[in-house]
Protein backbone atom coordinates (compact mmCIF):
# COMPACT_ATOMS: atom_id res chain seq x y z
CA UNK A 1 0.00 0.00 0.00
CA UNK A 2 2.57 2.55 0.99
CA UNK A 3 6.05 3.56 0.14
CA UNK A 4 7.04 2.82 3.70
CA UNK A 5 6.03 -0.77 3.67
CA UNK A 6 9.48 -2.08 4.41
CA UNK A 7 12.89 -0.88 5.43
CA UNK A 8 14.73 1.73 3.42
CA UNK A 9 18.26 1.04 2.47
CA UNK A 10 20.06 2.78 -0.36
CA UNK A 11 19.89 -0.28 -2.55
CA UNK A 12 16.12 0.05 -2.60
CA UNK A 13 16.61 3.29 -4.40
CA UNK A 14 17.88 3.83 -7.80
CA UNK A 15 19.49 6.66 -9.71
CA UNK A 16 20.04 6.87 -13.43
CA UNK A 17 23.45 5.74 -14.72
CA UNK A 18 25.98 8.35 -15.73
CA UNK A 19 25.22 10.23 -18.90
CA UNK A 20 28.38 9.50 -20.90
CA UNK A 21 28.09 5.76 -21.38
CA UNK A 22 24.41 5.85 -22.20
CA UNK A 23 24.51 7.04 -25.81
CA UNK A 24 27.03 4.53 -27.11
CA UNK A 25 25.47 1.73 -25.11
CA UNK A 26 21.99 2.33 -26.47
CA UNK A 27 23.33 2.85 -30.00
CA UNK A 28 25.15 -0.47 -29.78
CA UNK A 29 22.04 -2.23 -28.52
CA UNK A 30 19.98 -0.71 -31.33
CA UNK A 31 22.48 -1.83 -33.98
CA UNK A 32 22.86 -5.39 -32.77
CA UNK A 33 20.06 -7.95 -33.08
CA UNK A 34 20.34 -10.74 -30.51
CA UNK A 35 19.02 -14.23 -31.28
CA UNK A 36 15.93 -14.00 -29.15
CA UNK A 37 14.89 -10.92 -31.07
CA UNK A 38 15.44 -12.70 -34.37
CA UNK A 39 13.23 -15.51 -33.10
CA UNK A 40 10.58 -13.03 -32.09
CA UNK A 41 10.69 -11.40 -35.50
CA UNK A 42 10.35 -14.77 -37.17
CA UNK A 43 7.34 -15.79 -35.11
CA UNK A 44 5.68 -12.45 -35.60
CA UNK A 45 6.28 -12.61 -39.32
CA UNK A 46 4.75 -16.09 -39.59
CA UNK A 47 1.73 -15.00 -37.61
CA UNK A 48 1.32 -11.93 -39.79
CA UNK A 49 1.34 -14.08 -42.92
CA UNK A 50 -1.22 -16.38 -41.31
CA UNK A 51 -3.34 -13.32 -40.71
CA UNK A 52 -3.16 -12.24 -44.34
CA UNK A 53 -4.12 -15.76 -45.39
CA UNK A 54 -7.04 -15.77 -43.01
CA UNK A 55 -8.18 -12.38 -44.25
CA UNK A 56 -8.04 -13.40 -47.90
CA UNK A 57 -9.93 -16.62 -47.25
CA UNK A 58 -12.56 -14.83 -45.22
CA UNK A 59 -12.93 -12.29 -48.02
CA UNK A 60 -13.27 -14.92 -50.72
CA UNK A 61 -15.66 -17.07 -48.69
CA UNK A 62 -17.97 -14.39 -47.29
CA UNK A 63 -17.16 -11.19 -49.12
CA UNK A 64 -18.00 -7.81 -47.68
CA UNK A 65 -21.74 -8.01 -48.18
CA UNK A 66 -22.45 -9.89 -44.95
CA UNK A 67 -20.71 -8.01 -42.19
CA UNK A 68 -21.72 -10.56 -39.53
CA UNK A 69 -18.92 -12.90 -40.50
CA UNK A 70 -16.35 -10.19 -39.82
CA UNK A 71 -17.05 -9.84 -36.09
CA UNK A 72 -13.66 -11.21 -35.08
CA UNK A 73 -11.93 -8.99 -37.58
CA UNK A 74 -13.62 -5.97 -36.01
CA UNK A 75 -12.69 -7.24 -32.58
CA UNK A 76 -9.00 -7.58 -33.40
CA UNK A 77 -9.01 -4.23 -35.15
CA UNK A 78 -10.49 -2.57 -32.09
CA UNK A 79 -8.06 -4.47 -29.86
CA UNK A 80 -5.03 -3.27 -31.79
CA UNK A 81 -6.44 0.19 -32.26
CA UNK A 82 -7.35 0.82 -28.64
CA UNK A 83 -3.98 -0.39 -27.38
CA UNK A 84 -1.67 1.19 -29.93
CA UNK A 85 -3.49 4.50 -29.94
CA UNK A 86 -3.39 4.70 -26.15
CA UNK A 87 0.21 3.58 -25.81
CA UNK A 88 1.86 6.92 -26.68
CA UNK A 89 -0.27 8.47 -23.95
CA UNK A 90 1.88 6.86 -21.29
CA UNK A 91 4.80 8.98 -22.41
CA UNK A 92 2.63 12.02 -23.00
CA UNK A 93 0.69 11.94 -19.74
CA UNK A 94 3.62 11.38 -17.40
CA UNK A 95 5.70 13.89 -19.29
CA UNK A 96 2.98 16.40 -18.51
CA UNK A 97 3.01 15.43 -14.84
CA UNK A 98 6.84 15.61 -14.87
CA UNK A 99 7.23 12.22 -13.22
CA UNK A 100 10.84 11.08 -13.33
CA UNK A 101 10.04 7.39 -13.40
CA UNK A 102 8.54 7.66 -16.86
CA UNK A 103 11.84 8.52 -18.51
CA UNK A 104 13.09 5.02 -19.41
CA UNK A 105 9.73 3.81 -20.74
CA UNK A 106 8.57 6.87 -22.63
CA UNK A 107 10.29 5.86 -25.87
CA UNK A 108 8.84 2.36 -25.61
CA UNK A 109 5.40 3.93 -25.58
CA UNK A 110 6.11 6.46 -28.32
CA UNK A 111 7.39 3.77 -30.68
CA UNK A 112 3.82 2.50 -30.91
CA UNK A 113 3.25 5.43 -33.24
CA UNK A 114 4.80 3.25 -35.96
CA UNK A 115 1.93 0.79 -35.48
CA UNK A 116 -0.61 3.53 -36.13
CA UNK A 117 -0.16 2.68 -39.80
CA UNK A 118 -1.53 -0.79 -39.07
CA UNK A 119 -4.67 0.77 -37.66
CA UNK A 120 -5.18 2.73 -40.85
CA UNK A 121 -4.72 -0.36 -43.02
CA UNK A 122 -6.93 -2.55 -40.87
CA UNK A 123 -9.68 0.06 -40.90
CA UNK A 124 -10.09 0.14 -44.69
CA UNK A 125 -12.12 -3.11 -44.95
CA UNK A 126 -14.39 -1.87 -42.19
CA UNK A 127 -15.40 1.04 -44.41
CA UNK A 128 -17.07 -1.52 -46.67
CA UNK A 129 -18.35 -3.59 -43.78
CA UNK A 130 -20.16 -1.02 -41.68
CA UNK A 131 -23.79 -0.95 -42.81
CA UNK A 132 -25.25 2.45 -43.71
CA UNK A 133 -27.02 4.52 -41.09
CA UNK A 134 -30.09 5.06 -43.25
CA UNK A 135 -32.22 1.96 -43.53
CA UNK A 136 -31.85 1.06 -47.25
CA UNK A 137 -35.06 -0.97 -47.47
CA UNK A 138 -37.28 1.13 -45.27
CA UNK A 139 -41.01 1.00 -45.82
CA UNK A 140 -43.00 3.67 -43.92
CA UNK A 141 -45.27 2.11 -41.33
CA UNK A 142 -43.28 -1.08 -41.15
CA UNK A 143 -43.66 -2.43 -37.64
CA UNK A 144 -40.72 -1.63 -35.37
CA UNK A 145 -38.35 -0.59 -38.14
CA UNK A 146 -36.30 2.60 -37.98
CA UNK A 147 -35.53 4.78 -40.95
CA UNK A 148 -32.33 6.05 -39.34
CA UNK A 149 -30.38 3.69 -37.11
CA UNK A 150 -29.58 5.05 -33.65
CA UNK A 151 -26.17 6.70 -33.91
CA UNK A 152 -24.23 9.65 -32.60
CA UNK A 153 -24.57 11.22 -36.07
CA UNK A 154 -27.90 12.92 -35.57
CA UNK A 155 -28.58 14.43 -38.98
CA UNK A 156 -26.26 11.94 -40.76
CA UNK A 157 -23.73 14.34 -42.33
CA UNK A 158 -21.82 13.54 -45.50
CA UNK A 159 -19.53 10.55 -45.13
CA UNK A 160 -20.72 9.64 -41.66
CA UNK A 161 -19.57 7.57 -40.00
CA UNK A 162 -17.11 5.75 -42.26
CA UNK A 163 -15.16 8.72 -43.56
CA UNK A 164 -15.04 10.69 -40.33
CA UNK A 165 -13.84 7.75 -38.27
CA UNK A 166 -11.23 7.08 -40.93
CA UNK A 167 -10.01 10.65 -40.76
CA UNK A 168 -9.89 10.37 -36.98
CA UNK A 169 -7.71 7.28 -37.14
CA UNK A 170 -5.42 8.78 -39.77
CA UNK A 171 -4.97 11.97 -37.77
CA UNK A 172 -4.15 9.92 -34.68
CA UNK A 173 -1.49 8.03 -36.60
CA UNK A 174 0.02 11.20 -38.04
CA UNK A 175 -0.06 13.04 -34.73
CA UNK A 176 1.62 10.21 -32.86
CA UNK A 177 4.29 9.97 -35.57
CA UNK A 178 4.99 13.68 -35.18
CA UNK A 179 5.29 13.26 -31.43
CA UNK A 180 7.66 10.36 -31.93
CA UNK A 181 9.79 12.37 -34.32
CA UNK A 182 9.96 15.43 -32.09
CA UNK A 183 10.98 13.31 -29.16
CA UNK A 184 13.44 11.07 -30.98
CA UNK A 185 15.33 13.83 -32.79
CA UNK A 186 17.88 14.58 -30.04
CA UNK A 187 18.82 10.93 -29.70
CA UNK A 188 19.22 10.51 -33.44
CA UNK A 189 21.31 13.65 -33.60
CA UNK A 190 23.63 12.21 -30.98
CA UNK A 191 23.81 8.87 -32.74
CA UNK A 192 24.03 10.14 -36.31
CA UNK A 193 27.82 10.50 -36.21
CA UNK A 194 28.57 7.23 -34.44
CA UNK A 195 26.01 5.15 -36.33
CA UNK A 196 27.06 3.59 -39.61
CA UNK A 197 25.50 2.56 -42.90
CA UNK A 198 21.87 3.33 -43.64
CA UNK A 199 21.28 4.25 -40.02
CA UNK A 200 23.56 7.26 -40.15
CA UNK A 201 21.92 8.37 -43.41
CA UNK A 202 18.46 7.98 -41.94
CA UNK A 203 19.40 9.68 -38.70
CA UNK A 204 20.99 12.59 -40.54
CA UNK A 205 17.86 12.87 -42.65
CA UNK A 206 15.59 12.89 -39.63
CA UNK A 207 17.74 14.90 -37.23
CA UNK A 208 20.16 16.80 -39.39
CA UNK A 209 18.86 20.12 -38.18
CA UNK A 210 19.41 19.39 -34.51
CA UNK A 211 22.36 20.85 -32.68
CA UNK A 212 20.81 20.94 -29.23
CA UNK A 213 20.81 24.69 -28.93
CA UNK A 214 18.93 26.14 -25.97
CA UNK A 215 16.30 27.43 -28.37
CA UNK A 216 15.81 24.03 -29.96
CA UNK A 217 15.42 22.39 -26.57
CA UNK A 218 12.84 24.91 -25.47
CA UNK A 219 10.90 24.49 -28.69
CA UNK A 220 11.07 20.75 -28.36
CA UNK A 221 9.73 20.81 -24.83
CA UNK A 222 6.88 23.16 -25.67
CA UNK A 223 5.87 21.31 -28.82
CA UNK A 224 5.94 18.01 -26.97
CA UNK A 225 3.63 19.42 -24.30
CA UNK A 226 1.19 20.94 -26.78
CA UNK A 227 1.15 17.97 -29.14
CA UNK A 228 0.72 15.70 -26.14
CA UNK A 229 -2.32 17.56 -24.84
CA UNK A 230 -3.80 17.61 -28.34
CA UNK A 231 -3.13 13.91 -28.84
CA UNK A 232 -4.74 13.08 -25.51
CA UNK A 233 -8.00 14.74 -26.50
CA UNK A 234 -7.85 13.27 -29.99
CA UNK A 235 -7.47 9.75 -28.62
CA UNK A 236 -10.41 10.02 -26.26
CA UNK A 237 -12.54 11.45 -29.04
CA UNK A 238 -11.67 8.82 -31.64
CA UNK A 239 -12.22 6.04 -29.11
CA UNK A 240 -15.68 7.47 -28.61
CA UNK A 241 -16.31 7.49 -32.37
CA UNK A 242 -15.08 3.95 -32.97
CA UNK A 243 -16.84 2.25 -30.09
CA UNK A 244 -20.15 3.99 -30.64
CA UNK A 245 -20.16 3.45 -34.41
CA UNK A 246 -18.86 -0.11 -34.54
CA UNK A 247 -20.30 -1.52 -31.35
CA UNK A 248 -23.12 0.43 -29.80
CA UNK A 249 -25.07 1.51 -32.85
CA UNK A 250 -25.01 -2.04 -34.26
CA UNK A 251 -26.97 -3.44 -31.31
CA UNK A 252 -30.50 -2.14 -31.82
CA UNK A 253 -31.65 0.10 -29.00
CA UNK A 254 -28.42 -0.12 -27.07
CA UNK A 255 -27.95 3.32 -25.54
CA UNK A 256 -25.10 3.24 -23.08
CA UNK A 257 -23.33 6.47 -22.35
CA UNK A 258 -20.64 4.83 -20.23
CA UNK A 259 -19.30 2.57 -22.97
CA UNK A 260 -16.86 5.15 -24.44
CA UNK A 261 -15.20 5.87 -21.09
CA UNK A 262 -15.09 2.16 -20.34
CA UNK A 263 -13.48 1.53 -23.70
CA UNK A 264 -10.93 4.27 -23.15
CA UNK A 265 -10.05 2.99 -19.69
CA UNK A 266 -9.54 -0.49 -21.13
CA UNK A 267 -7.22 1.06 -23.68
CA UNK A 268 -5.12 2.84 -21.05
CA UNK A 269 -4.93 -0.31 -18.96
CA UNK A 270 -3.70 -2.46 -21.81
CA UNK A 271 -1.34 0.22 -23.12
CA UNK A 272 0.36 0.44 -19.74
CA UNK A 273 0.43 -3.36 -19.57
CA UNK A 274 2.11 -3.89 -22.93
CA UNK A 275 4.64 -1.17 -22.15
CA UNK A 276 5.51 -2.74 -18.82
CA UNK A 277 5.84 -6.13 -20.49
CA UNK A 278 8.22 -4.71 -23.09
CA UNK A 279 10.16 -2.91 -20.38
CA UNK A 280 10.43 -6.18 -18.47
CA UNK A 281 11.72 -8.04 -21.54
CA UNK A 282 14.26 -5.31 -22.34
CA UNK A 283 15.38 -5.37 -18.74
CA UNK A 284 15.63 -9.13 -18.51
CA UNK A 285 16.95 -10.15 -21.93
CA UNK A 286 17.80 -6.91 -23.68
CA UNK A 287 20.56 -5.84 -21.31
CA UNK A 288 18.84 -2.63 -20.22
CA UNK A 289 18.89 -3.51 -16.48
CA UNK A 290 20.69 -0.40 -15.41
CA UNK A 291 18.17 1.88 -17.08
CA UNK A 292 15.03 0.30 -15.69
CA UNK A 293 15.04 0.61 -11.94
CA UNK A 294 12.23 -1.13 -10.11
CA UNK A 295 10.80 2.28 -9.34
CA UNK A 296 9.48 2.40 -12.90
CA UNK A 297 7.42 -0.71 -12.34
CA UNK A 298 6.51 0.32 -8.85
CA UNK A 299 5.06 3.69 -9.83
CA UNK A 300 3.48 2.37 -13.00
CA UNK A 301 1.77 -0.48 -11.19
CA UNK A 302 0.18 1.97 -8.79
CA UNK A 303 -1.40 3.66 -11.78
CA UNK A 304 -2.25 0.23 -13.16
CA UNK A 305 -4.15 -0.88 -10.07
CA UNK A 306 -6.06 2.39 -10.16
CA UNK A 307 -7.05 1.79 -13.76
CA UNK A 308 -8.05 -1.78 -12.96
CA UNK A 309 -10.40 -0.59 -10.25
CA UNK A 310 -11.68 2.12 -12.56
CA UNK A 311 -12.56 -0.42 -15.23
CA UNK A 312 -14.57 -2.52 -12.81
CA UNK A 313 -16.24 0.57 -11.46
CA UNK A 314 -17.40 1.62 -14.93
CA UNK A 315 -18.61 -1.90 -15.64
CA UNK A 316 -20.64 -2.01 -12.43
CA UNK A 317 -22.12 1.42 -13.08
CA UNK A 318 -23.27 0.12 -16.46
CA UNK A 319 -24.61 -3.11 -15.02
CA UNK A 320 -26.49 -1.74 -12.03
CA UNK A 321 -28.28 0.90 -14.08
CA UNK A 322 -29.54 -1.60 -16.62
CA UNK A 323 -30.33 -4.20 -13.99
CA UNK A 324 -32.39 -1.89 -11.83
CA UNK A 325 -34.82 -0.76 -14.49
CA UNK A 326 -36.90 -3.70 -15.65
CA UNK A 327 -37.00 -2.65 -19.31
CA UNK A 328 -37.04 -5.68 -21.58
CA UNK A 329 -34.55 -4.07 -23.94
CA UNK A 330 -32.03 -3.48 -21.18
CA UNK A 331 -32.51 -6.91 -19.68
CA UNK A 332 -31.89 -8.44 -23.08
CA UNK A 333 -28.71 -6.47 -23.58
CA UNK A 334 -27.47 -7.68 -20.20
CA UNK A 335 -28.38 -11.24 -21.14
CA UNK A 336 -26.73 -10.95 -24.53
CA UNK A 337 -23.44 -9.32 -23.56
CA UNK A 338 -23.03 -10.60 -20.03
CA UNK A 339 -25.11 -13.39 -18.68
CA UNK A 340 -26.37 -15.66 -21.43
CA UNK A 341 -24.83 -15.62 -24.88
CA UNK A 342 -21.35 -14.45 -23.98
CA UNK A 343 -21.52 -15.32 -20.30
CA UNK A 344 -18.32 -17.35 -20.02
CA UNK A 345 -16.36 -14.85 -22.10
CA UNK A 346 -17.72 -12.15 -19.83
CA UNK A 347 -16.70 -13.89 -16.62
CA UNK A 348 -13.25 -14.71 -17.99
CA UNK A 349 -12.98 -11.10 -19.06
CA UNK A 350 -13.73 -9.89 -15.53
CA UNK A 351 -11.35 -12.40 -13.97
CA UNK A 352 -8.48 -11.59 -16.32
CA UNK A 353 -8.87 -7.85 -16.41
CA UNK A 354 -9.78 -7.29 -12.79
CA UNK A 355 -9.56 -10.10 -10.26
CA UNK A 356 -6.16 -11.57 -11.10
CA UNK A 357 -4.31 -8.29 -11.78
CA UNK A 358 -5.84 -6.77 -8.68
CA UNK A 359 -4.69 -9.59 -6.46
CA UNK A 360 -1.25 -9.51 -8.00
CA UNK A 361 -0.81 -5.75 -7.72
CA UNK A 362 -2.37 -5.25 -4.31
CA UNK A 363 0.84 -6.50 -2.70
CA UNK A 364 3.43 -3.77 -2.39
CA UNK A 365 6.41 -6.16 -2.46
CA UNK A 366 5.13 -7.53 -5.78
CA UNK A 367 4.60 -4.03 -7.14
CA UNK A 368 8.26 -3.36 -6.41
CA UNK A 369 9.41 -6.23 -8.59
CA UNK A 370 9.69 -6.11 -12.36
CA UNK A 371 7.92 -9.40 -13.05
CA UNK A 372 4.78 -8.66 -10.98
CA UNK A 373 3.43 -5.79 -13.06
CA UNK A 374 4.49 -7.54 -16.26
CA UNK A 375 2.60 -10.69 -15.26
CA UNK A 376 -0.48 -8.66 -14.37
CA UNK A 377 -0.06 -6.96 -17.72
CA UNK A 378 -0.25 -10.26 -19.59
CA UNK A 379 -3.52 -11.12 -17.88
CA UNK A 380 -4.92 -7.67 -18.62
CA UNK A 381 -4.05 -8.01 -22.31
CA UNK A 382 -5.87 -11.33 -22.52
CA UNK A 383 -8.83 -9.90 -20.65
CA UNK A 384 -8.95 -6.95 -22.99
CA UNK A 385 -9.02 -9.25 -26.02
CA UNK A 386 -11.97 -11.08 -24.49
CA UNK A 387 -13.66 -7.73 -23.86
CA UNK A 388 -13.26 -6.71 -27.49
CA UNK A 389 -14.59 -10.06 -28.68
CA UNK A 390 -17.59 -9.80 -26.37
CA UNK A 391 -18.48 -6.30 -27.47
CA UNK A 392 -17.62 -6.31 -31.17
CA UNK A 393 -18.48 -9.86 -32.17
CA UNK A 394 -21.64 -9.38 -30.20
CA UNK A 395 -22.42 -6.14 -31.99
CA UNK A 396 -21.66 -7.52 -35.44
CA UNK A 397 -24.08 -10.41 -34.93
CA UNK A 398 -26.94 -8.74 -33.09
CA UNK A 399 -29.48 -9.23 -35.87
CA UNK A 400 -31.64 -6.59 -37.54
CA UNK A 401 -29.83 -3.36 -36.72
CA UNK A 402 -32.67 -1.15 -37.95
CA UNK A 403 -35.04 -2.68 -35.44
CA UNK A 404 -36.34 -0.61 -32.52
CA UNK A 405 -34.58 -2.69 -29.94
CA UNK A 406 -32.96 -5.97 -29.06
CA UNK A 407 -36.10 -7.93 -28.22
CA UNK A 408 -34.59 -11.40 -28.48
CA UNK A 409 -31.25 -12.67 -27.24
CA UNK A 410 -29.10 -13.72 -30.21
CA UNK A 411 -26.83 -16.76 -29.85
CA UNK A 412 -23.07 -16.28 -29.44
CA UNK A 413 -20.79 -16.58 -32.46
CA UNK A 414 -17.67 -18.69 -32.10
CA UNK A 415 -14.56 -18.23 -34.22
CA UNK A 416 -13.81 -20.54 -37.10
CA UNK A 417 -10.23 -21.21 -38.10
CA UNK A 418 -10.00 -18.14 -40.36
CA UNK A 419 -11.08 -15.95 -37.45
CA UNK A 420 -8.31 -17.46 -35.34
CA UNK A 421 -5.86 -16.76 -38.14
CA UNK A 422 -7.04 -13.19 -38.40
CA UNK A 423 -6.78 -12.59 -34.65
CA UNK A 424 -3.29 -14.08 -34.40
CA UNK A 425 -2.25 -12.34 -37.58
CA UNK A 426 -3.24 -8.93 -36.30
CA UNK A 427 -1.17 -9.41 -33.18
CA UNK A 428 1.73 -10.78 -35.21
CA UNK A 429 1.63 -7.85 -37.60
CA UNK A 430 1.82 -5.36 -34.76
CA UNK A 431 4.64 -7.24 -33.07
CA UNK A 432 6.60 -7.47 -36.32
CA UNK A 433 6.37 -3.79 -37.10
CA UNK A 434 7.16 -2.82 -33.54
CA UNK A 435 10.24 -5.03 -33.38
CA UNK A 436 11.49 -3.66 -36.68
CA UNK A 437 10.93 -0.20 -35.23
CA UNK A 438 13.13 -0.94 -32.25
CA UNK A 439 15.90 -1.91 -34.71
CA UNK A 440 15.66 1.42 -36.50
CA UNK A 441 15.17 3.85 -33.63
CA UNK A 442 16.70 3.69 -30.16
CA UNK A 443 14.27 1.97 -27.81
CA UNK A 444 15.40 4.09 -24.90
CA UNK A 445 14.84 7.81 -24.76
CA UNK A 446 18.45 8.79 -24.15
CA UNK A 447 17.92 12.50 -23.74
CA UNK A 448 15.22 11.97 -21.15
CA UNK A 449 17.34 9.53 -19.17
CA UNK A 450 20.22 11.98 -19.26
CA UNK A 451 17.96 14.80 -18.16
CA UNK A 452 16.74 12.61 -15.33
CA UNK A 453 20.30 11.84 -14.34
CA UNK A 454 20.82 15.55 -13.77
CA UNK A 455 17.82 15.90 -11.55
CA UNK A 456 18.37 13.06 -9.13
CA UNK A 457 21.25 11.82 -7.05
CA UNK A 458 21.87 10.11 -3.75
CA UNK A 459 22.19 12.49 -0.86
CA UNK A 460 22.88 12.16 2.85
CA UNK A 461 20.61 13.67 5.47
CA UNK A 462 22.28 13.35 8.90
CA UNK A 463 22.84 9.60 9.09
CA UNK A 464 20.58 8.30 6.34
CA UNK A 465 21.17 8.17 2.61
CA UNK A 466 18.22 9.07 0.42
CA UNK A 467 17.26 9.85 -3.11
CA UNK A 468 17.43 13.57 -3.84
CA UNK A 469 14.87 14.62 -6.39
CA UNK A 470 15.05 18.01 -8.08
CA UNK A 471 11.97 19.55 -9.64
CA UNK A 472 12.70 22.45 -11.98
CA UNK A 473 10.18 25.32 -12.01
Amino acid sequence: MSSHSESHYPHDMWVFPDAQSTTQDVARKTASTPGILKLGLAIAGVLAILGVVGFVLRMTSDGFSDYGAWGYYAAIFSYIFVITSSAPLVAVAFRLTKSHWRRPISRISELFALVGVVNVILYIPLIYLLPPINNPNFVPGMHGELQIRKTIWMEVPFGAPHLWDFLGIISLAVLSLIILWVSVVPDLAEARSSANGWRSKLYTLLAGHWYGTKKQWIHQKISLALLGALYFMMVVFVHFLIVSDFAMSLIPGWKDSILPPLYTVTGFQSALSIILIIAFTMRKWGGYEKYFGTSVFWSASKIQIGLTLLWTYHLFAFFITLWYGRMELEQNILRYLMFESYSWIFWLNVIFIFLIPFWILVWNPVRKTAWGPALAGIFILVGNLLFQIRIFVGAFNAGDIYHLGLFRVPPPVFPDVWDVFIVLGGIGLVAFIYLIGTRILPALSVWEVKEGAMYQKMGTLYRGEYLVLAKPE
Binding site: S7, F316, I320, W323, R326, Y462, R463, G464, Y466
Partner: protein, 169 residues
Protein backbone atom coordinates in the same frame (compact mmCIF):
# COMPACT_ATOMS: atom_id res chain seq x y z
CA UNK B 1 19.34 -3.14 38.67
CA UNK B 2 16.65 -0.96 37.19
CA UNK B 3 17.24 1.14 34.15
CA UNK B 4 16.64 4.87 34.42
CA UNK B 5 15.61 7.13 31.56
CA UNK B 6 17.69 10.15 30.61
CA UNK B 7 16.78 12.81 28.05
CA UNK B 8 19.19 15.07 26.22
CA UNK B 9 17.85 18.02 24.26
CA UNK B 10 19.62 19.10 21.09
CA UNK B 11 19.09 22.10 18.90
CA UNK B 12 20.78 20.59 15.89
CA UNK B 13 19.82 17.30 14.32
CA UNK B 14 23.41 16.43 13.48
CA UNK B 15 24.43 16.83 17.11
CA UNK B 16 21.55 14.58 18.12
CA UNK B 17 22.70 11.98 15.65
CA UNK B 18 26.27 12.27 17.00
CA UNK B 19 24.92 11.77 20.50
CA UNK B 20 23.15 8.67 19.33
CA UNK B 21 26.33 7.26 17.86
CA UNK B 22 28.32 8.15 20.95
CA UNK B 23 25.80 6.39 23.18
CA UNK B 24 25.88 3.32 20.97
CA UNK B 25 29.67 3.22 21.02
CA UNK B 26 29.55 3.56 24.78
CA UNK B 27 27.66 0.29 24.84
CA UNK B 28 24.04 1.42 25.16
CA UNK B 29 22.01 -0.96 22.99
CA UNK B 30 20.05 0.87 20.32
CA UNK B 31 16.87 -0.63 21.76
CA UNK B 32 17.37 1.77 24.66
CA UNK B 33 17.89 4.85 22.52
CA UNK B 34 15.02 6.83 21.10
CA UNK B 35 14.81 10.13 19.28
CA UNK B 36 11.94 12.47 20.10
CA UNK B 37 11.23 14.98 17.34
CA UNK B 38 8.50 17.43 16.39
CA UNK B 39 8.35 16.25 12.81
CA UNK B 40 8.80 13.02 10.91
CA UNK B 41 12.47 12.92 9.97
CA UNK B 42 13.09 10.43 7.17
CA UNK B 43 13.66 6.97 8.51
CA UNK B 44 17.19 6.29 9.61
CA UNK B 45 18.06 9.98 9.70
CA UNK B 46 19.58 9.47 13.16
CA UNK B 47 20.80 5.97 12.42
CA UNK B 48 18.13 4.82 14.83
CA UNK B 49 16.97 1.21 15.03
CA UNK B 50 14.43 0.04 12.54
CA UNK B 51 10.87 -0.34 13.78
CA UNK B 52 8.97 -3.47 12.86
CA UNK B 53 5.17 -3.38 12.75
CA UNK B 54 2.19 -5.42 11.58
CA UNK B 55 -0.08 -2.58 10.51
CA UNK B 56 -0.78 -4.22 7.16
CA UNK B 57 -2.68 -7.06 8.76
CA UNK B 58 -5.30 -4.75 10.23
CA UNK B 59 -7.06 -3.59 7.06
CA UNK B 60 -7.36 -7.14 5.79
CA UNK B 61 -8.87 -8.40 9.03
CA UNK B 62 -11.20 -5.41 9.13
CA UNK B 63 -12.23 -5.89 5.53
CA UNK B 64 -13.12 -9.54 6.08
CA UNK B 65 -15.11 -8.76 9.19
CA UNK B 66 -16.88 -5.83 7.58
CA UNK B 67 -17.69 -7.82 4.46
CA UNK B 68 -19.15 -10.74 6.35
CA UNK B 69 -21.12 -8.45 8.64
CA UNK B 70 -22.55 -6.53 5.70
CA UNK B 71 -23.44 -9.69 3.76
CA UNK B 72 -25.15 -11.15 6.81
CA UNK B 73 -27.11 -7.97 7.47
CA UNK B 74 -28.28 -7.49 3.90
CA UNK B 75 -29.14 -11.09 3.16
CA UNK B 76 -30.78 -11.79 6.50
CA UNK B 77 -32.98 -8.72 6.43
CA UNK B 78 -34.17 -9.58 2.94
CA UNK B 79 -34.83 -13.20 3.81
CA UNK B 80 -36.49 -12.35 7.10
CA UNK B 81 -39.06 -10.15 5.33
CA UNK B 82 -39.63 -11.75 1.93
CA UNK B 83 -41.56 -8.83 0.50
CA UNK B 84 -41.59 -8.70 -3.30
CA UNK B 85 -40.73 -5.28 -4.65
CA UNK B 86 -40.76 -4.42 -8.32
CA UNK B 87 -40.47 -8.03 -9.43
CA UNK B 88 -36.92 -8.15 -8.12
CA UNK B 89 -35.54 -11.35 -6.59
CA UNK B 90 -35.90 -11.54 -2.82
CA UNK B 91 -32.13 -11.91 -2.49
CA UNK B 92 -31.10 -9.05 -4.77
CA UNK B 93 -27.36 -9.61 -5.15
CA UNK B 94 -26.42 -6.42 -7.02
CA UNK B 95 -28.10 -4.36 -4.33
CA UNK B 96 -26.33 -6.36 -1.64
CA UNK B 97 -23.04 -5.83 -3.45
CA UNK B 98 -23.22 -2.08 -2.95
CA UNK B 99 -23.92 -2.22 0.78
CA UNK B 100 -21.43 -5.03 1.31
CA UNK B 101 -18.78 -2.96 -0.43
CA UNK B 102 -19.37 -0.07 1.93
CA UNK B 103 -19.29 -2.44 4.88
CA UNK B 104 -15.98 -3.86 3.73
CA UNK B 105 -14.36 -0.48 3.39
CA UNK B 106 -15.74 0.71 6.73
CA UNK B 107 -14.37 -2.36 8.47
CA UNK B 108 -10.99 -1.95 6.82
CA UNK B 109 -10.71 1.71 7.77
CA UNK B 110 -11.88 1.29 11.35
CA UNK B 111 -9.37 -1.49 11.91
CA UNK B 112 -6.60 0.49 10.26
CA UNK B 113 -7.18 3.38 12.64
CA UNK B 114 -7.23 1.03 15.62
CA UNK B 115 -4.08 -0.54 14.23
CA UNK B 116 -2.31 2.79 13.99
CA UNK B 117 -3.17 3.65 17.58
CA UNK B 118 -2.18 0.22 18.78
CA UNK B 119 1.01 -0.11 16.79
CA UNK B 120 2.29 3.30 17.82
CA UNK B 121 1.73 2.19 21.40
CA UNK B 122 -0.88 4.80 22.15
CA UNK B 123 -2.53 5.88 24.37
CA UNK B 124 0.53 6.20 26.59
CA UNK B 125 -0.96 6.49 30.06
CA UNK B 126 2.05 7.38 32.20
CA UNK B 127 4.13 9.91 30.33
CA UNK B 128 7.84 9.22 30.37
CA UNK B 129 10.66 11.73 30.41
CA UNK B 130 9.66 14.57 28.12
CA UNK B 131 10.29 18.22 27.44
CA UNK B 132 7.92 20.69 25.83
CA UNK B 133 10.80 22.20 23.88
CA UNK B 134 10.73 19.10 21.68
CA UNK B 135 7.69 20.49 19.91
CA UNK B 136 9.68 23.69 19.41
CA UNK B 137 12.01 21.93 17.03
CA UNK B 138 14.48 20.62 19.62
CA UNK B 139 15.46 16.99 19.28
CA UNK B 140 15.34 14.82 22.34
CA UNK B 141 17.65 11.85 22.67
CA UNK B 142 15.98 9.54 25.14
CA UNK B 143 18.14 6.76 26.54
CA UNK B 144 17.53 4.38 29.39
CA UNK B 145 20.70 3.30 31.14
CA UNK B 146 21.77 1.62 34.36
CA UNK B 147 21.66 3.82 37.44
CA UNK B 148 25.43 3.82 37.64
CA UNK B 149 25.95 5.04 34.12
CA UNK B 150 23.73 8.12 34.47
CA UNK B 151 26.55 10.57 35.03
CA UNK B 152 28.65 9.06 32.27
CA UNK B 153 25.71 9.26 29.88
CA UNK B 154 25.06 12.84 30.92
CA UNK B 155 28.65 13.54 30.03
CA UNK B 156 28.31 11.93 26.63
CA UNK B 157 25.19 13.91 25.89
CA UNK B 158 26.69 17.21 27.01
CA UNK B 159 29.81 16.46 25.04
CA UNK B 160 27.70 15.88 21.94
CA UNK B 161 26.35 19.38 22.44
CA UNK B 162 23.16 18.89 24.40
CA UNK B 163 21.36 22.09 25.30
CA UNK B 164 19.92 20.44 28.37
CA UNK B 165 20.00 17.02 29.98
CA UNK B 166 17.11 15.82 32.11
CA UNK B 167 16.75 12.82 34.36
CA UNK B 168 13.82 11.74 36.51
CA UNK B 169 13.44 13.57 39.82
Amino acid sequence: MAKRPILGLFKDANAAADAGDALKSSGVSDRDIDFLTDAPYPEGAFGEREEKHRLYLFPFIGATLGLSAAILLTSMTQLAYPLVTGGKPILALPAMAVVSYEGTMLGAILFTCLGVIFESRLPKLKSGLYDTRITEGYIGVLASVEDGDLDQTTGILNQAGAVDVKTEG
